[in-house]
Symmetry: C3
Subunit: 422 residues, 3 copies
Amino acid sequence: LKSADGSSELRLRGQIQVDGRYFVNGDGSASGSTNATAAQAADTVLLKQFRPIFQGKLWDKYEFLLTPDFGGGKTIVQDAYIDAKFNPWFQVKAGKQKSPFGLERLQGDADGKFIERSLVNNLVPNRDIGVQLHGAFADNKVEYALGYFNGVIDGNSSDNYTNADTDNNRDKDYVARIFATPFKNDTGFLQGLGFGLAATYSNLAGSGTGVNTTTAQSATESNLPSFRSGLGQLSNFKYTTASAGATNGTYADGQRLRWSPQFYYYNGPFGLFGEYVQVEQDVSRVGNTGKRHDKLKNDAWQIAASWIITGEDAGYVNPTVLHPFNVDTGDLGAWELVARYSELNIDDKTFAGTTATSYADPKSSISKASAWATGVNWYLNRNLKLALDYEQTSFNDGWTTGAVKSDRPTERVLSTRLQLGF
Amino acid sequence: LKSADGSSELRLRGQIQVDGRYFVNGDGSASGSTNATAAQAADTVLLKQFRPIFQGKLWDKYEFLLTPDFGGGKTIVQDAYIDAKFNPWFQVKAGKQKSPFGLERLQGDADGKFIERSLVNNLVPNRDIGVQLHGAFADNKVEYALGYFNGVIDGNSSDNYTNADTDNNRDKDYVARIFATPFKNDTGFLQGLGFGLAATYSNLAGSGTGVNTTTAQSATESNLPSFRSGLGQLSNFKYTTASAGATNGTYADGQRLRWSPQFYYYNGPFGLFGEYVQVEQDVSRVGNTGKRHDKLKNDAWQIAASWIITGEDAGYVNPTVLHPFNVDTGDLGAWELVARYSELNIDDKTFAGTTATSYADPKSSISKASAWATGVNWYLNRNLKLALDYEQTSFNDGWTTGAVKSDRPTERVLSTRLQLGF
Amino acid sequence: LKSADGSSELRLRGQIQVDGRYFVNGDGSASGSTNATAAQAADTVLLKQFRPIFQGKLWDKYEFLLTPDFGGGKTIVQDAYIDAKFNPWFQVKAGKQKSPFGLERLQGDADGKFIERSLVNNLVPNRDIGVQLHGAFADNKVEYALGYFNGVIDGNSSDNYTNADTDNNRDKDYVARIFATPFKNDTGFLQGLGFGLAATYSNLAGSGTGVNTTTAQSATESNLPSFRSGLGQLSNFKYTTASAGATNGTYADGQRLRWSPQFYYYNGPFGLFGEYVQVEQDVSRVGNTGKRHDKLKNDAWQIAASWIITGEDAGYVNPTVLHPFNVDTGDLGAWELVARYSELNIDDKTFAGTTATSYADPKSSISKASAWATGVNWYLNRNLKLALDYEQTSFNDGWTTGAVKSDRPTERVLSTRLQLGF
C-alpha cells in the first residue's frame, strides 16, 4: 500500500504473530519445586505481536517509522523515529529505535530464523530513546553508527522501566558500532560475508531499596537485568532484590561496558550467523556488615546455521519465495531448516558470599545456561510464515532440592508461530 | 478505502461509539445504601468504543482482522487473527477472536439492535486467544466451528485477566458450534430462519487466595465471573472473595460446561431473536469448618423483536438504508423499533450457608435479574447510527435494608448512542 | 493521503515529537533539598508525541477525528469525536475533544510557537468527554461554542483521572466561548485581530480521603489540580493530600468558575498573542479542629510575540514555508524568533494556617511563578520543524532551607524539539 504525492510516500504495513508454546513433559514446572518461575510453564497460545506500522518518506530525505505494538496484552511503542538522510554517510536518526549494538537484535523481528532470539539476547540492549548519527561509506561496504541514548538495561527496552519510556537516571549511554561487508560487490564465495564490532558505555546508578548513592539521580529501580531462556521465555536469573526483612538488594553502581564482535555469512541457500557479547557491570549491595562492590563480567555467544532446501538465497532478511504455496499448482513455498547453539555465563563473583550478601542467590538463579535449538520455517509466500522450533536448555545451579542448591531442570520447549506481514 | 495489488487488499476502517447514560431517578444509587455498586450510578458521557480496524485479504485466501480499541480509557486488542480460507468447509482461524458460542455475542458490535447486550451476555465467553477450525457445507446452509482456546470466564475476554491476554491456567477450553439456515435459498417465509447449538468445555482451577489446589497451575485469580445489568452496566453479583480476616474466597474448581440453543428469524422488516445459555461450573470454598464443593448451574435467556418502520429488510447485520437522511430532499434514513426481555438466574446453592460459608452473599449479590428494554434506532446512512434505549431491570435479593436481605432496587436507565462506522 | 469515494474521504495522518530537555546547572534539582520534585530534573530525551491520526468526512457533513497517542510511555486517546456540520451556525460535536476554553490550548499541538505551553495552561481544561453545539455567524466573523462535558480539573484531560476517560463525579461542566475576528475580510492592519471570552462552570465535589460530603457522588479523588513549570514540566504546587497520620487532604467542594479573555493579532511576519485565566474554586479541608471552607481565586496570564524573519505570514497555525530547506538550492526554509512572558498566581488564602490546616504547604508549594522564554523555530518544510527554546522561571515560596520556608530555586531549561507531521 503506497500513496505517493511527489517525493513523499506513506506505507501502511502490519505484522502479527500468533504463537503456540508447549512445554514437553512440563519440565519448566518440575514438581516439588517452590521456585516461583515454575508457575510460568503452562502451555499456552500467545498473541505475540500485533503491530500496525506507519512508514514513510518525505521530501526524498526524511524517513520515519512509527510502530505501536498491541501484542501480549500490553501497548507499547516499538519504533518511533525520524531518520534524516542528508547524505549516505551522514544520517541522523532521532526518537525511539533499536540501539545499534547486537546483530541478532538488529535483525527485523519478522526476519529472525527462530521464533525467539537466543540466550545472547539477554545481554543486548533493545529499543531506546535517543539520537544516532549513522551512515555508510566505501561504496556502502562499511556501515557505522554513533549513538547517544537514555540507556536501557541488558535485554530490555525503554518501555520496560517502571515508567515506560521515561528515563530513570541522569547518565546516558554511548553506543558505537561498525559493520563491514567488504566483498558485497564481488561475485566470489565471500560476497555474503559481513562482520563488525559494537560497544556501549554508561556510568549509571540504580537503587537497592532506598540505597540511592547519588542524590542527583532519581533511580528507584536497581537498573540491573534479569535473564530468561530463549524459546521458553522462562525467567531463570535475577539479582537479589530487597527483602521485607533486613537486607537491601543489589543495584547498578558504576560503569557498564558492553562489547560484541559479530558476523554473518550467506552463500546460496546456506547461512551462518554468530555473535559474542560481554557485559562488564559495576554493582553494589549494602548488607548488615557493610557495602560490597564488584565489577561483574557476564558473557554470551551463539552460532546459528540455516539451509533453505527449496533453493532460495539465504540472507539477513527473509528469503524471496520463488514459488508461493498453492494447492492447485502444487507449489510448496520456501522451506528452511535451522539449528542454533547459544550459551549464557554469569560471573562467579555474582554468587560469592551468603544469601544475605551475594549479588544473586544460586538456589534460584542459574550461573550458566546452554541451549540447543532446531527448527523448520515454511514461507508460504511473501506475507505468511509458519515456524516450528524445538529448544532444549540445560542449566548450572538455579534450583533447590531439599534445601540444597542443585541444577535447574532441563527446559524442553516446542513452539509454533504463525506470522503475517504486509 | 481499498487498495488492491493483484489478489491482495487492505481495508482501513474505523468504528466509534459515544454514549450518554442517564439513570432515571438515580435508582442505581438508592439512598441509605452502603452497597458499593451504588456509587457507579452517575450519569455520564462515555467514549464507549474507538477502534481503528485493519482488515485485509492476501493471496485470495488468507484474511486478517486487526482491531485495537482505545475506548473507555483502556487500550485492548479486540481482534487480531489470521483466517486461512483453504476451502469453504475447511478454514483455520488463529489468534485473538470471538469464541464461537453466543449468537448475540457473535453479532458485530456495531450491528446490535440495542446499545448494550442483554443479561444473557453475562454467561457468554467473549474474545479469547486460540485456534478454530470452521467452515460451511451443504450449500453454505450449515456452518460449524471447532475451537481450542486458552479459555475465558463467563462474559469476559482474555484481556480481562489481571495480565491481559495472558493465560492464567493450564487447562484449555474446547468450543463447538453448529448453526443452520436450511431455507436460505428458498423464497418462502422460512427463508430468514436460522438456528443452532453451541457448547464449551473446560476443566479449570482458580484460586481463593492461595488455595491453589493444583500446584502445576499458576492461577492467582478465582476464575469466576461477576455479573452486571444490561443497559446500566452496574455490577450486581459477585462470588465471595477472600476477606482481610479469616475466610477464603470462592474459586473455580473443576468442570465448566456451557451450552446454548439459539435462533433468529427475519421476515421483511421484522426480526425475532432468541437464545438460552446454561453454565455448569464446579466451585469450591475453604472455610473454617472445611472445604465446600458444588456444581452450580446458572442460566439466562432472552427474546428480542425488531421492526424497521421505513421498510428496509431486517437481518443479523445493520439494514441497508434505502434513503439516506438528507434535510434537502426530506429523506429520513431508516427507523427501527426494538423490544427485548431477558433474564438471568443464579443457582440457589450459591447462597446456601452463612456469609462465612456461602459462595456468594445474597445481601450484596442478586439471585435473579429480569429486564425489559425498548428502543429506537435511527440509521442516518450507511455510516451513522443514533440509538435511544430504555431498560428496566428488577432483581431478587442483592440488597440490604436495615441489615436484612432485601431486593436490589429496580434499575431504570435511559441511554443514547452516536455510532460512526466506516 | 486521501481516498475519496463520492462525498466521503479518509485521511491518514501522523504526528511525532522527539524532545531533548536540558536543565542548565541542574537547577531543578538543587543540592541539599529534600524536595520530592527535585528528582525529576534529569536531562533526558523524550518521545513526547506519537500520534497516528484518522481524519475523515462522510456524506459531506459528518466529520470525525480519531487520534490515539502513544507518546511518553502511555497510550491515551487525544481526540475521538464526530462533528455533524448541519449548517455553518449549527454544528454538533460529540465525543472526546478539547474543551472550548483556552486560546493557547485550542491551538493545535503542532502549531504552538513554543515547545511547551505557558504557565497559563495550568488553569485551562484540556480534553474532555461531552457534547458541544458550535458554529460561526456574521460571515464567519464570530465563532461560538456551548458545551456540556463530564468535566476535568484545571490543566488536565479526562485521561488523567485514576480511571482514564471515566467520569468520577456526578456534576457536569458547562462551557461557553465566543471569539470574534471582525476585520478578517478587510485588508487593513486590523485584519489579523481576533479576541474572545470563554467561561466554564461546575459545582463539583472531591474527596479528602474518605471525606466524601455527598453520598450520591463517587469521588475518590480530590478533584483539585497540581501545577508545573512550562518548559521544564517540573511539578511545583500541589494541594495537601491526606497524610498517613492524622489529617485529611484538601478537596474540591462547591463551585468552580473559570473565565478567560483572550486575543491574538497577526500582521505580516509578526504575531502577538495573549490570554488571561482566572479560576474560582471552592475547596474544603477537614482537620482536627473542624472543617475549613474557602473560595480560592488563582489566576494566570501570558503575552507572547513572534517574528518570522524569512518573510512568511504569521498566524494561529504554522506558516506556509515559501522556500523549503534544500542544501542544493540553498533554500533555508522558514525561521522564526519567539518570546513569551507568563505568570501564575496562587490565592494567598491557600497557604493560610499551619501545615495541619492550610490547603497547601508553602514549604513545598509555590505561591507564584514567573517565566521568561525565548526561542527559535526552524520550519524546514511543511512536514518538519526544529525548535530550540530557553525558559527561566522564578518562584515565590515552595522550598525549604533549613526547615524554613524559602523561594524555590530559579529553573533554567533548554529544550529542543524535532517534529514531524504528515
